[in-house]
């Protein structure tokens, strides 16, 4: 039976925990708003880009650039795992890592070589335990704040295309958390190299007319593809950032509520113990008086 003093201390400590989780929840909510706006704002560009690519690749056929047609092989896979930089976001990072492990497992079962590149500290921490030997690079998101996602995405895109050109891998798959709504983030695996237009990209009905290209189709494809890849990375990053904050907000909301429940339970216990003590003292006094 904890003493009254112990109970009092525990109540105080849970109360301060609740204050912290409450503050984290509010910070996450504010950041979520911003991240969500950024993710929404980037969608028109990404979807337009996808439909342009769909149009182009439909007419380009098989002879397109390597970024589109691939190396003709699929022996070496690069898995790019995108997680958050910080924890305390519920199951956010774990879900992405779990999805990555599943993909890695499948690929290895098929006898493919797997290489891993992680973005965000949490993914590296969780994956390096098991797959340390497959890591080729890690990118910290520490320096990425607010507005410069674009620069970062372009940088990552460049390094991926360079590695592809150097023949380091045949297929690159991006694993990230897609932001569906505040309560649901879906861990998604998306192939980014060789590039393919998503199946749901809208293609335009030309009504029998023929597209004209200036400069040539190939030149356009060659400038478009790296950008398309960058765009996909950027939107994945923005979705992931929004998902992280959403997940953190939900997790902290739960934590705050749990702390509240705990405080209620502890206060009840405290009050009972105090009352028991008072009753005990009264009985002692009364029985003492009777004895006299």
């Amino acid at each position: 039976m904890p003493s009254l003093k112990d109970l009092k201390n525990r109540i105080a400590s849970v109360k301060s925990t609740r204050k912290i989780t409450k503050a984290m929840q509010m910070v996450a909510a504010a950041k979520l708003k911003r991240a969500q706006d950024a993710a929404t704002a980037s969608r028109p560009y990404a979807s337009r880009m996808a439909s342009v690519l769909a149009n182009l690749s439909a007419s380009a056929g098989a002879g397109g650039p390597r970024l589109l047609s691939g190396t003709g092989d699929d022996k070496t896979h690069l898995i790019v795992v995108m997680t958050a930089e910080r924890g305390l976001a519920g199951g956010f990072n774990t879900y992405v890592v779990k999805r990555a492990k599943q993909t890695i497992g499948e690929l290895r079962a098929e006898g493919k070589t797997v290489k891993i590149l992680t973005v965000g500290k949490k993914g590296r921490e969780q994956l390096s335990r098991e797959y340390g030997d497959m890591f080729i690079a890690h990118i910290d998101l520490g320096g990425v704040k607010g507005g410069n996602f674009t620069e970062f995405a372009i940088g990552l895109g460049h390094s991926l295309t360079k590695r592809f050109d150097d023949g380091e891998f045949d297929v690159a798959t991006l694993i990230y958390s897609r932001f569906k709504n505040v309560l649901t983030q879906v861990p998604t695996a998306q192939q980014i190299i060789p590039a393919s237009a998503p199946a749901d990209a809208e293609t335009v009905d030309l009504k029998g007319a023929i597209y004209r290209y200036e400069p040539s189709e190939m030149e356009i494809l060659e400038t478009l593809l790296p950008r398309y890849i960058n765009t996909q990375i950027l939107s994945a990053m923005l979705e992931s950032a929004a998902g992280e904050e959403a997940s953190r907000m939900t997790a902290m909301d739960n934590a705050t509520r749990n702390a509240g429940d705990m405080i209620d339970a502890l206060s009840l216990q405290y009050n009972r113990a105090r009352q028991a003590q008072i009753t005990k003292e009264l009985i002692e006094i009364i029985s003492g008086a009777e004895a006299v």
Partner: protein, 135 residues
């Protein structure tokens, strides 16, 4: 068929413009071109320059874009720009300040940092933007 051209201009950060206009003049890599409604399907890359949106004969809006693509379909014109800025309300001094900041960032990076190319492109964009503003 509508006698207005549906025009939208998007950059990775946001959609800058979407609506019905009369006429758009854009800077293609092979020269400026104008687009009216019912233009034949056409696609081209763009260079840094000013996209002009015309309402009748009057210029309604001027947007400075960096690179990207113009895609003309029977549905209208879509410009996908790497970067875009509405020229209205942009001041030369602000651009200069941004140029300086970008230059500092470039210098701070390693030689082979891949983000450097992106920053350099951004810098070039600001430089040409400033050139347009000064005139």
């Amino acid at each position: 068929m509508a006698d207005k051209l549906h025009f939208s201009l998007v950059s990775p950060a946001r959609e800058l413009f979407s609506g019905e206009v009369d006429h758009v003049i854009a800077p293609g890599t092979h020269g400026e071109f104008g687009v009216l409604v019912n233009h034949a399907p056409f696609m081209t890359t763009l260079k840094n320059g000013v996209v002009r949106v015309l309402e009748g004969d009057a210029v309604k809006m001027r947007i400075f874009v960096r690179g990207g693509f113009a895609d003309i379909t029977p549905d209208g014109l879509t410009i996908l720009a790497e970067e875009a800025r509405n020229l209205e309300g942009v001041k030369a001094e602000e651009v200069q300040a941004e140029m300086n900041a970008t230059l500092l960032k470039i210098q701070a990076l390693d030689k082979d940092d891949s983000a450097k190319a992106a920053l350099q492109a951004h810098f070039d964009y600001l430089e040409s933007l400033k050139a347009v503003l000064v005139h």
